[in-house]
Symmetry: C2
Subunit: 332 residues, 2 copies
């Protein structure tokens, strides 16, 4: 009898597939290059091959699979499962990914954008466990995320919700963001923006131990900034304060909107660890009104790179449970 | 057979009661002073008297009523129907309003805070009709509101959601807000803040036709500012631009979070009419990234002072429909 679920995390670089039971215990997982430049048809082929290989290596077949979740970079039409266009999947234009994967694997497929899928994974079995209202932020090249309100993902009209990094907090004279707006949180607090703010200041002659890095490598990474801050460089610490303050204000604003119990930060930057988390909390407490100071839990994600496959599998489980509930109520 | 619903809008000054059919056509309504200073027991008495009088004047009794909705100023425990404390109802501390009204009228009661109730009213039969994702802002002494996501009100953890005026947009050097934060939208764009910004500048000697108003009355109202702007006063126009810009940025930030299709502004300030709406839209388009410029409908509320009684009655209808659906699925 079928008893497992597949979670597929389709990224611009890597394709990850995981197999889970209904309690989301991991049975097996694998990672392969996506080869996104070869176009949608080739990527569907790779999804099929990778999945079948993973299953056979674990003495399973598609017959053991109940249903499948897949996550993809956006923008997408989520309910229809169509990748509208995706900077990381340049050949994908209006690709009906959900339908194509469903036909190829012969299974029901549930589709989500990658950030929402990871958000759902953290919500179900990661750092968001036990709450019903949560915000998930990914701190990487950009700042994305997902919103859980009363136990459900918030999609918004035209799947427009949760562009969380593009909240404007410095409208007058703020930094320009890649999106075209001015003063977005992302223009200060993404890993790229953190590195860029440091680089610009070093180029302008600000004294710092990062100057040596810039001279040797020609650029400064976000990790360099955090490393030099940890070693006591005053300027690097100022840059990180700018990052943490923008994220603290983001938390203030989000608690006033959807009223989360918990905010979960994920993405490469959380490798900076406790000092970053502490600083975000300090700025949150500095900017929030006193009554609400104790009311928001701010923490780091716990699922790491597996959030995508766990989240998509969890969405498949969730969908299946909903269908079964509806069916049993129809039949009663 | 019972076929009507009551909507009760409990305000600090006035108590409004309306009777509606299940299509939310108004059968009758009335307004009485609340006398909130006489305490909860006296207010419950007034609710009972006012309701019974309204019904009898329309040849109805409580037997004609299916259920009741009541809205109250916050903060409140919404699911339990408890008014925790309310600046406008100073004698109300942890008052189980839902239970008390239910016992007194012998009906099921659904409870909401006043802003959410008005939001629901606009959503069901007012300016929000036809969409599933909407934001509702009230522009009055403060800025409050409600959020509809996928057809449901967003409450958040501990009913903490939708403190929409307290989004910070000028964190550094911004005006202090009554809430204790710095740079909130409310500190710029509420009716009170609009008047206050004008008054402060006039006191500081800024030239304007408002100077005469200040000298004669000792203060400047929000309406004065809009009136003088309409008559061509340059300074009054600058003040209103500050209000509209804060509201435009609020719209930018909210579209990136819950992804509404429509934003509805309500409250006393919308009497300023088309010039205010136009200016908000201009600032929204100025600050939003180009791709999203056409994606948000910004409009004024249409239900006026009746939004509260319509919204609470609509919540009673909604609750009753949910209960009937559950019941019929249990019985099938």
């Amino acid at each position: 009898m079928s008893k497992y679920y597949l979670g597929i995390d389709l990224g611009g670089t890597n394709l990850k597939v995981g197999c889970f039971d209904s309690e989301l215990n991991q049975i097996a997982k694998t990672l392969n290059p996506t080869h996104a430049d070869m176009g949608p048809e080739a990527v569907i082929d790779r999804i099929e091959e990778t999945t079948k290989k993973l299953l056979s290596e674990n003495n399973l077949t598609l017959d053991d699979i109940i249903s499948v979740g897949i996550g993809s970079p956006g923008p997408a039409d989520i309910s229809e499962g169509i990748v509208v266009s995706a900077p990381n999947l340049p050949e994908f234009q209006n690709v009906p990914l959900k339908q194509l994967v469903s036909e190829r694997l012969g299974k029901d497929v549930v589709f989500e954008n990658d950030a929402n899928a990871a958000c759902w994974g953290e919500y179900v079995v990661g750092a968001g466990r036990g709450v019903k209202d949560m915000i998930f932020f990914t701190l990487g090249t950009g700042i994305g995320g997902g919103i859980i309100s009363n136990g459900e993902l918030v999609h918004g009209f035209g799947d427009n919700a949760a562009e969380l990094g593009h909240m404007i907090i410095y409208p007058h004279g703020g930094r320009f963001c890649g999106c075209g707006q001015r003063g977005c949180v992302e223009a200060y607090a993404s890993a790229s923006s953190t590195a860029r703010r440091a680089t610009e200041a070093i180029q302008a002659g600000t004294p710092s131990s990062l100057k040596k890095v810039y001279k040797e490598k020609g650029h400064i990474s976000c990790k360099n900034v955090f490393d030099h801050a940890a070693q006591g460089d005053k300027f690097a610490n100022e840059i990180i304060k700018g990052t943490a303050e923008a994220l603290g204000i983001l938390c203030v604003n989000i608690i006033h909107i959807t009223g989360p119990q918990r905010v979960v930060f994920a993405g490469g930057m959380i490798a900076a660890g406790e000092p970053l988390l502490k600083s975000i909390k300090e700025y949150f407490n500095y900017h929030i009104w006193p009554l609400k100071q104790e009311k928001l839990e701010i923490c780091f994600a716990t699922l790491g790179e597996d959030a995508g496959i766990i989240g998509t599998a969890a969405l498949a489980v969730h969908q299946n449970q909903k269908l079964r509930t509806e069916k049993s109520s129809d039949m009663s």
